[in-house]
């Protein structure tokens, strides 16, 4: 029983940054803009959150600042891919190069040449610190960012499928020219979606540095953005599908940690492969062909056929 609770707790903890990143991917790609740069935006969110929390002592402000910083980076991607009809993959890769550079450069500038920040104030836990601290249930008392991630998922589902604006986003992602003839501003819609995706990715980075660990390190964000991207495709570009995919990734990670804890006959490096092997197997057996939004990754140029 303890183990199950522990598994659940670790799963939720590890999936949170992935959920934010992946939701960012969903909103951007549903509007037709591929966003490989999620990883980079998460890194910027991570450093901003840790630095803001250090200097202000207010983790909530830090969380919001991380979202804003993510949006600033996303703006670069939006300008390139929406206004300049750039190759979105290349622009995303560029952001992934730029962002860690900027993050470490500013970390060294702010903290006397150090590659990590000092320990900073974290976001609180959902039920506060005292909640059943000595019982096994304490592992379920997750960081509040986990709850925010779930709410973000519900909100995104509601917006995408139950509002007029969501319908427009999906139309722009499937057939921008048709949407344009109906008077929808394709460029504006895509700009908003990419910016929102940056905000979410920024939150994702913050959920690592002020949610899980309590400082920025160069390896704080090590591939979560790419796994989130995989979760988007896995979840077939829907908010809840993506959320499920993130939970699965989190669960396999948690399983690896728990199995690796005791005396184990399986070598640890083989065990560590488990999440990734399982993902491929699940994809082959259950998910199959995934179809991206039709105009995903295709720049829209007004008036062109």
């Amino acid at each position: 029983m303890d183990k199950v609770v522990l598994l659940l707790g670790i799963t939720l903890m590890y999936s949170t940054p992935l959920v934010f990143g992946a939701l960012g991917g969903v909103i951007s790609e549903r509007s037709g803009v591929t966003n490989i740069g999620i990883e980079g935006m998460m890194v910027i969110g991570a450093i901003t959150a840790a630095t803001t929390s250090y200097f202000t002592g207010n983790p909530w402000l830090a969380f919001l600042a991380a979202g804003a910083a993510g949006a600033v980076v996303a703006l670069l991607h939006a300008v390139a891919s929406v206004s300049f009809a750039a190759d979105q993959t290349v622009s995303g890769v560029a952001i992934n190069l730029l962002a860690p550079g900027i993050a470490l450069f500013s970390c060294r500038r702010f903290f006397d040449g150090g590659a990590t920040t000092p320990i900073v104030t974290k976001l609180p836990k959902v039920f506060g610190d005292g909640w059943m601290a000595d019982t096994p249930w304490a592992n379920l008392n997750v960081n509040v960012s986990t709850l925010i991630a779930f709410l973000a998922c519900v909100i995104m589902w509601f917006v995408l499928y139950k509002t007029k604006w969501g319908l427009r986003v999906r139309a722009v992602g499937e057939h921008p020219a048709a949407a344009d003839t109906l008077g929808i501003d394709v460029y504006k819609t895509r700009y908003v979606c990419v910016l929102v995706s940056g905000v979410l990715a920024g939150f994702g980075g913050a959920s690592v540095t002020i949610g899980i660990i309590s400082q920025f390190t160069p390896t704080a964000i090590a591939g979560q953005g790419f796994i989130a991207l995989a979760a988007v495709i896995f979840g077939k570009w829907t908010p809840f599908g993506t959320y499920g995919a993130c939970l699965l990734f989190g669960a396999t990670q948690a399983l690896t940690i728990i199995l690796g804890g005791g005396q184990s006959i399986i070598p640890s490096s083989i065990l560590a492969m488990l999440p990734y092997v399982m993902t491929i197997i699940v994809l082959v057996l259950f998910v199959g062909r995934s179809v991206a939004p039709k105009a995903d990754g295709v720049p829209y140029i007004k008036g062109s056929r």
């Binding site: 979105q88 290349v90 040449g113 083989i270 092997v277």
Partner: protein
């Protein structure tokens, strides 16, 4: 002016313009953070080209990213995004190490054996990704990312096995010396060789202080070969046709599924080759326990994009990339500028290469301005007359 306009319309102009902008942005950041940009760039050039040893190291470090760059460019031209270079590279190093430790033939057999086994390892891994895409419709980006991590842990597993582990270290056993592809590996360590090299300082600098090897020659050969394969052969035509429009390609009788697998097989093989050449060419000639991705595959993406996804263009792009990162270390040591400024610079360069229409747009603007001025001139002349 006409020459400039003509030049700006060529694809290489976009890359050069992007590089220029990369330096400009880096200079702005340096200036605002209190460093002298000119001094920094001076040190950067010195650190990359200042001594024969530096130049050699730049070439050595350019070798793997040239190959991973060619791999990405090759796949990109056939409509696939190979994000798995990282894993294919690591697979190449692991396979080369396993074969290089187990077998011990004379060099003319051993070297091709070790190098090709690495390439084969990468190729099979790439083909798996291609197979999963072709037959199950699983996006190559997901499987690539997953295989990157699987290969990292597989490498660590190989290091930890009893047969290959080097006691009291975090590395595997080194491959047998007959696999070495350095320039004159035995001679330069012999008494006679050292005696001779003492008399020729620049050669000593190159041979003794670096692992100068034949990898870069092989890499250039592969880059040219990949270019010829894509543009001058039937197979290359088919691969590109599938990338451009799979439905149309299928209609003309091209096996789309087979094409996807073939492309990933070749692309993965090139990355595997990069790994194998690093094992045979540079010390420690073995694999080490990896804590995180080393970035060879990822840097290959940057190289390919700076080169505008031309396989031959990857040659100068990889030298630029390697020169900047290697020179960046000197900048950090001598001036205390965080070497991350180089990552920012490369990021900016790649960002601007994403806007391929930039240089032609400037050309059109110049042309229009020239025409406008000419018409004003003719108007003025007409008025005078």
């Amino acid at each position: 002016m006409n020459v400039l306009i003509k030049f700006l319309k060529r694809p290489v102009a976009s890359s050069l313009l992007a590089i220029l902008l990369g330096f400009a942005v880096a200079a702005a950041i340096l200036a605002t953070t209190g460093f002298n940009p000119f001094e920094t760039f001076g040190t950067l050039f010195y650190g990359a080209l200042g001594k024969p040893k530096y130049i050699t190291n730049v070439i050595i470090k350019a070798t793997p990213i040239l190959l991973t760059g060619v791999s990405v460019a090759f796949a990109f031209q056939t409509g696939l995004f190979n994000r798995g270079g990282e894993g294919q590279y690591v697979r190449g190093t692991s396979c080369a190490t396993i074969v290089g430790v187990t077998c011990n033939f004379p060099a003319p057999i051993q070297i091709p054996l070790v190098v090709l086994s690495g390439a084969l390892g990468g190729a099979l891994l790439g083909a798996l990704v291609g197979f999963l895409k072709a037959h199950f419709g699983i996006h190559e980006v997901i499987t690539s990312i997953m295989t990157n991590w699987i290969m990292l842990y597989l490498c660590n597993f190989v290091v930890s096995t009893e047969a290959f582990h080097k006691p009291n270290s975090n590395t595997a056993l080194t491959v047998n010396p007959s696999s070495y592809t350095m320039v004159l590996p035995q001679w330069k360590m012999s008494d006679e060789g050292i005696d001779y090299l003492l008399k020729v300082p620049w050669l000593r600098d190159i041979l003794l202080k670096t692992d100068l090897n034949f990898g870069f020659v092989v890499a250039i050969f592969v880059a040219v070969l990949a270019g010829i394969l894509l543009t001058r052969t039937k197979l290359g035509y088919e691969l590109r046709a599938v990338g451009f429009n799979p439905e149309a390609a299928r209609f003309t009788g091209i096996g789309v599924k087979r094409s996807v697998v073939t492309c990933m097989l070749i692309s993965g093989g090139i990355c595997g080759l990069a790994g194998a050449l690093n094992i045979t060419g540079i010390s420690p000639h073995t694999i080490t326990t990896l804590a995180s991705q080393e970035g060879y595959g990822f840097n290959g993406l940057s190289v390919a994009f700076i080169a505008g996804c031309s396989t031959v263009g990857c040659i100068p792009a990889s030298l630029l990339f390697s020169g900047l990162t290697y020179g960046g270390m000197t900048v950090q040591q001598m001036m205390g500028v965080p070497s991350e400024i180089i990552n920012i610079m490369i990021g900016v360069i790649v960002f601007f290469t994403a806007l391929p229409a930039m240089a032609p747009k400037i050309a059109t603007w110049l042309e229009r301005r020239k025409k406008a001025r000419q018409s004003i001139d003719t108007d003025a002349n007409a008025g005078e007359a």
